[in-house]
């Protein structure tokens, strides 16, 4: 049963090691590696030997923000396809938002989705429970019973909770179960009828702008509430420079605040909207160039902990509309790894840094075993050939939803292998 990965360049973000070596996987876990031992095992004793010459091998990616359109809108994308597409990019764990139909706001929904996902034997699926019933922001959902069923955190999906008392109680209550509250920060009053980021571009296009402070105001409020309640708080898909500043300050104070962002916010800015391209209509909206640079700064200095795909399957009909009538969101699963590799290349990130942002940190935030190449860790692995150049082509997407503002973007690096619990995925 044992598999030897030899001649690999191993990257363990947990131990911050990046060097050539070998790895043995047996019964779904990592059992030996060159990090801990000098001599590799006899190849004859292995059931399989994988020569990883010229390849990077690291812990599988953990995507902490994925919208599934199944259950509820399987015509857009099914869970099976979603989990398959994930493994094609070396994503071995993903966490889905509760905004399905029906909403994942009770223990029975979590049970049923986890059971279905386990049958596919693809990427590992985890569920957030909805923070409020029906995601309406008015009544707390049964967080305790959802925790018992396996919820790894509580999310508001793409909605923001305006009511500060509700948010305070959610944080206080979630604290009992040691689970983070994941919030989409948006001041809905500043965001009314929003099409895109506020500023010159919006003015030229005649679209309604949302100021970046719509995000930061709610984030700042949440940080104060986290200070009051001692809660574990996570800010999702951060897009604004000012938000990066307030998170940096909160972390310096020692608050248990974490944050993620997604490729659009470090790769693109509001100019992508210029041709009324509805694929670039996102929430939070693409911001200014200064915001984009600040997001990258936040990723580099550790203020932003993680990169997530922010995958949002959209029916093409919902995007084939005048910009202001089109839906928000874009497909993220097929973009997540290529665009993060591009960030690594353009900003000279180390492999350890990249794997920290895409594997170790999200795993830590969600309390998962993933994100490390330690003995006893699950054998969730990704293999990358770093030296191949590609053009991102929406028609090649593995996910069924192919709406993307990144079509035609060149990048370097390709996922050449993926193992979940030691099982080869392709």
């Amino acid at each position: 049963m044992a598999k030897l990965f030899k001649n690999a360049h191993l990257v363990c973000p947990e131990r911050e090691l990046s060097k050539d070596g070998w790895l043995v996987v047996d019964h779904g876990v990592i059992t030996q590696s060159s990090f801990d031992e000098q001599t590799p095992p006899d190849e004859a004793s292995m059931s399989k030997v994988i020569d990883c010459k010229g390849q990077i091998v690291g812990p599988g990616f953990v995507d902490m923000r994925v919208q599934s359109s199944d259950p509820g809108a399987e015509h857009i994308e099914t869970l099976d396809i979603l989990l398959t597409a994930a493994t094609m990019h070396g994503i071995t764990s993903l966490a889905i938002l509760p905004s399905t139909e029906p909403v994942i706001d009770n223990a029975a929904m979590i049970d049923s989705i986890l059971l279905r996902a386990s049958r596919y034997k693809k990427a590992r699926l985890y569920c957030y429970g909805a923070a409020t019933k029906q995601m309406a922001g008015e009544q707390m959902a049964e967080l305790g019973m959802m925790t018992q069923a396996g919820a790894i955190g509580f999310s508001t999906g793409n909605y923001s909770i305006s009511d500060s008392q509700m948010m305070r109680r959610l944080m206080t209550y979630a604290n009992m179960f040691d689970r983070p509250v994941m919030h989409h920060c948006e001041d809905l009053t500043l965001s009314e009828d929003m099409d895109m980021n506020e500023g010159e571009t919006a003015t030229r296009l005649g679209l309604i702008g949302q100021p970046a402070i719509a995000e930061t105001i709610i984030l700042q409020r949440d940080i104060e509430l986290a200070r009051l309640t001692g809660a574990r708080y996570h800010a999702s898909h951060i897009s604004a420079a000012a938000s990066v500043d307030v998170i940096r300050k909160a972390k310096a104070e020692g608050l248990t605040i974490t944050a993620d962002t997604a490729p659009p916010y470090f790769m693109l800015n509001e100019f992508s909207v210029s041709g009324f391209d509805s694929a670039a209509k996102l929430n939070p909206p693409l911001r200014s160039e200064a915001d984009r640079k600040a997001i990258i700064e936040g990723l580099l200095d550790g203020t932003i902990d993680a990169i997530a795909s922010d995958h949002m399957p959209i029916d093409p009909d919902e995007k084939a509309q005048p910009f202001s009538l089109a839906s928000f969101g874009a497909s993220g699963l097929d973009v997540f790894v290529p665009m993060s590799l591009k960030l690594k290349q353009t900003h000279d990130l180390s492999w350890v840094q990249l794997f920290a942002l895409m594997s170790r940190n999200p795993a830590r935030i969600l309390g998962l075993e993933a994100g490390r190449l330690s003995i006893g860790a699950p054998a969730d692995l990704v293999m990358i050939n770093p030296n191949s150049a590609y053009i991102l082509n929406a028609s090649d997407f593995h996910s069924q939803s192919r709406i993307t503002p990144f079509d035609g973007t060149p990048f370097e690096g390709k996922v050449t292998g993926c193992w979940v619990g030691g099982k080869n995925q392709f």
């Binding site: 019933k133 009544q139 049964e142 019973m145 008392q165 206080t172 209550y173 009992m176």
Partner: protein
């Protein structure tokens, strides 16, 4: 039942009122408790020869002034007053001039002009009994003011415990449920704490008032951890309006996490007992199998002891020989 320290001697309260447990001396608490034990013996074994207590409050007028609905507390005071020979009047809110727009103080002043001796007051606003005590010459007994105090409940709980265990000092007592909104929890904390009990609060984090641990009580947000090794578990009522998703997601989740059922109780010491100030929400904070367990439940005894404890309080505030400060 172990040795009892009943008192055959009436005593008085220094302030001339019973506004709360906080502020009472341990000597006053002990004296009230001893006297309660004396009355408890009398009411629980009427066939045995006893002192005639029916003259103790002869000629004394007690007024039940309840601004909040109550059956058990109001009736309990009424029975206690009658057993001591007092005349008692019940003023119900619905029929009173309060509904006609009269201020609280005016109502009290008007009543005071009729010279009642003792006013038993329940009101939804914390501090009302203290306010009234400054405007009337009658003695005030706080029968529950908002989230603040319910001193006679604490006294009857202590009486029930003392009759069951023979002591209070050293007993491990877990008070579980809606601590934030509970006057019973506060009064019991002061009273049982003063008598040396080892208390703890157990509640969902959203039903714990801020800085509660600064009152000197350990706090738990997990029922089974909080009640581990307890001699006594006091369950508090969770009001329906708290289960609408603001404080607690649902009744279902509350019972699942904080409801006392036979599974939790089985983990306790063999002689652990269950108390509840009532009225109970069966299937919310307590399962019927626990509430009705004759081996463990003291809930009915608590009601019985309420009369004895209130007899002691009324007696301690009887007008003759009191050094009460007149309000006006």
């Amino acid at each position: 039942m172990t040795e009892k320290q009943t008192s055959h001697h009436a005593h008085t309260l220094k302030s001339g009122h019973l506004l709360g447990i906080e502020g009472l001396g341990v000597d006053e608490i002990t004296a009230l408790l001893d006297r309660s034990l004396y009355f408890a013996d009398i009411i629980t074994s009427p066939s045995e020869p006893h002192d005639d207590v029916s003259k103790i409050l002869h000629g004394v007028t007690v007024v039940n002034l309840f601004f909040e609905n109550s059956t058990r507390t109001r009736v309990s005071f009424e029975v206690a007053a009658k057993k001591l020979g007092a005349s008692i009047l019940n003023i119900s809110v619905s029929g009173s001039s309060v509904k006609k727009g009269e201020t609280l103080v005016d109502t009290a002043t008007t009543l005071n002009a009729m010279h009642p001796d003792i006013l038993v007051v329940r009101h939804h606003a914390a501090g009302t009994p203290l306010l009234l005590s400054k405007h009337v010459s009658a003695a005030i007994i706080n029968a529950g003011d908002g989230r603040h105090e319910h001193p006679t409940q604490a006294l009857l709980d202590a009486l029930t415990i003392k009759r069951s265990f023979g002591r209070i000092a050293g007993l491990k007592i877990a008070i579980c449920g809606d601590i934030a909104n509970s006057r019973v929890a506060r009064s019991n904390l002061y009273l049982l704490g003063a008598l040396g009990a080892d208390l703890r609060f157990v509640a969902p984090s959203t039903l714990l008032p801020s800085d509660v641990e600064k009152l000197g009580v350990p706090v738990f947000t997990n029922l089974n951890e909080g009640i581990a090794g307890a001699d006594i578990i006091m369950m508090l009522r969770l009001q329906k309006e708290r289960m609408q998703g603001r404080e607690i997601p649902s009744q279902h989740e509350y019972f699942n996490l904080f409801g006392l059922d036979s599974v939790s109780v089985d983990k306790l010491a063999g002689d652990a007992v269950i108390m509840h100030p009532g009225p109970m929400n069966r299937g919310v904070e307590i399962a019927s199998s626990v509430a009705d367990d004759p081996e463990r439940s003291l809930i009915t005894q608590q009601v019985e002891m309420g009369v004895a404890a209130r007899m002691a309080c009324l007696e301690a505030l009887r007008p003759n020989g009191l050094a009460r400060q007149k309000g006006r």
